[in-house]
């Protein structure tokens, strides 16, 4: 019995420090932004000495967490619709900025073995297609909008095999060979070029581009720190971190893929889509 207690106290001593020495910045972000944000947080801490605590999760789940606990300095959801919600809940201080642009694309296995070239190929018989649930997930909603806008929703629908509840699951479906094509963000492939490729639909086929917005929270305990970090993320150093991870940070660059597309905003889903 005593031995066990001794072991536990040993563990206690090696516990990570809970209370930070100085002020820190607490960021709640969608899991999709993990790699660039972790790198940016490290860079920011090296430069300013201020630690950045990052909590990742589903954009909706972390919004709930922020609401219920009243904590957090910055909110960076994985898509604009959650920022709209946060604004509607009066949780945001100031105006959100856009950190990166997301382009809808057809994600296929590396090397594009089934030779998917464009949206029309989605109508192929026996093709397994996966999307995120348009009811809850931004990229799913944009996917359905794109299919409808191009008039192929009804033809493609029989091929929709996997409808999953998060961006993450959607991305994972390709390496796990659960489906042949995922309608997701072009950035999925950028994370894992060795397993996935992105086929980008034609410029007039994309009705809407997504964004990764960032904003300071109303309840921020460290508003100056929050301000500083957001500024850092939007600065050329911060943006280059995003670019290195495959994100489009420049609006004009994003528009090259879809000149007529709207940016952000919501699309209302038909009842029985």
């Amino acid at each position: 019995m005593l031995r066990i207690l001794f072991l536990i106290s040993l563990l206690c001593c090696s516990m990570p420090i809970r209370g930070e020495a100085g002020p820190s910045i607490v960021v709640f972000a969608g899991a999709a932004s993990q790699p660039p944000l972790e790198e940016a947080a490290d860079a920011f801490q090296t430069r300013t000495g201020i630690p950045v605590v990052l909590h990742f999760g589903g954009s909706g789940a972390i919004l709930n967490q922020v609401r219920l606990t009243g904590q957090g300095d910055i909110y960076i959801p994985g898509s604009p619709d959650y920022m709209d919600k946060a604004v509607a809940f009066k949780m945001i201080a100031g105006t959100p900025i856009t950190l990166a642009y997301l382009v809808p694309a057809l994600i296929v296995a590396e090397g594009n073995p089934l030779n998917i070239q464009n949206l029309n190929d989605l109508q192929r018989e026996n093709l397994r297609i996966g999307i995120a649930d348009p009811d809850g997930v931004c990229v799913g909603l944009y996917a359905v909008e794109m299919l409808e806008a191009n008039g192929i929703l009804d033809q493609v629908r029989p091929n929709l095999r996997g409808i999953v509840e998060s961006c993450a699951k959607a991305a994972a479906m390709i390496p796990l060979n659960m489906v042949d094509v995922v309608i997701g963000w072009r950035e999925f492939a950028a994370w894992h070029p060795e397993t996935m490729d992105a086929v980008i639909p034609g410029p007039d086929e994309i009705p809407r581009l997504g964004t990764i917005p960032a904003a300071m929270l109303d309840n921020a305990k460290n508003p100056q720190g929050a301000e500083a970090f957001i500024t850092f993320l939007a600065s050329s150093e911060g943006q280059s971190i995003f670019q290195r991870w495959g994100y489009l940070t420049d609006e004009s660059r994003a528009r090259q893929f879809a000149p007529e597309a709207s940016i952000g905003g919501t699309y209302s889903l038909r009842e029985a889509w």
Partner: protein
């Protein structure tokens, strides 16, 4: 010819064999996604060490807390009579029915009530702290502990306790010197199962404590984040580490406590 009930024994062992094969398949299937690069990268990172330490620490503390609370609770439910017993018995099962994410959300909402405000004014912080991790795990595992211990106590005949009373034990004494020692096996099984459930706990933990690396990131939540990034090699590494550590601890505890008896 001496019959050895071969057919019966085989039919009892066959499902077990198939199950073991299935689990082995699950574990070994990770090899497709395993990458040495990811493995070494993870092992050298301090994030992993924090996650492991936090996982072990929180699971141990929350299991110990759970067993401490579960032993008297289970005894009360098994042996004593009190008004509302059946309702409470069913109510205690609640955590097993609710998904851990829902439980985590409830904990956060409870923190927003008057009681939560009171505690936070006293200096206690719950959300996004290690205390939050422990509470989230505790809430998920306590019902399992109680169920298992209740079954254990129900199997112990009250006669030994009665004899002990008449030989000079107080009610407490009889519990300490007779009931608990007789319940040893069941308590051990409950500890093992509870700890295993705690270390794998993720939904409620993420809700209540978030996933800050180095602070409140446990092994399961790290696996979740790796999956969120569709980073299967990293996820596989972490899963392997979680499996190895858990098996090691569970095996060690079993050996240690069984050899004592």
């Amino acid at each position: 010819m001496l019959h050895r009930d071969t057919a019966f024994k085989i039919s009892m062992m066959l499902p077990l064999g198939l199950l073991t094969a299935y689990f082995l398949l699950l574990v070994s299937s990770q090899s497709t996604f395993f990458s040495i690069a990811a493995f070494t990268e993870q092992l050298s990172g301090r994030d992993l060490r924090s996650a492991i330490t936090l996982s072990l620490f929180a699971a141990t503390v929350s299991s110990i807390l759970a067993i401490i609370i579960a032993i008297p609770s289970a005894y009360a439910l098994a042996r004593l009579d009190f008004p509302g017993k059946r309702i409470i018995d069913t109510f205690i099962d609640l955590p097993m029915v609710l998904t851990p994410i829902a439980l985590g959300t409830l904990i956060l909402m409870a923190w927003n009530t008057a009681i939560g405000h009171l505690l936070s004014n006293l200096g206690l912080t719950l959300p996004f702290t290690v205390a939050g991790v422990i509470l989230a795990q505790f809430t998920v595992i306590i019902a399992i502990s109680i169920r298992m211990l209740k079954a254990t106590f129900e199997q112990i005949s009250p006669r030994q306790e009665q004899v002990a009373r008449l030989l000079g034990c107080s009610a407490f004494g009889s519990f300490l010197h007779v009931t608990l020692p007789m319940a040893r096996r069941g308590i051990l099984a409950a500890i093992i199962l509870t700890w295993a459930r705690a270390i794998g706990e993720f939904g409620a933990t993420v809700m209540v404590a978030g996933t800050a690396r180095g602070q409140t990131a446990t092994l399961p939540s790290s696996i979740y984040l790796a999956m969120s990034m569709a980073d299967l090699p990293k996820a596989v590494t972490l899963v392997m580490i979680l499996i190895s550590i858990s098996l090691l601890v569970l095996w060690g505890v079993r050996i240690a406590l069984e050899s004592k008896s």
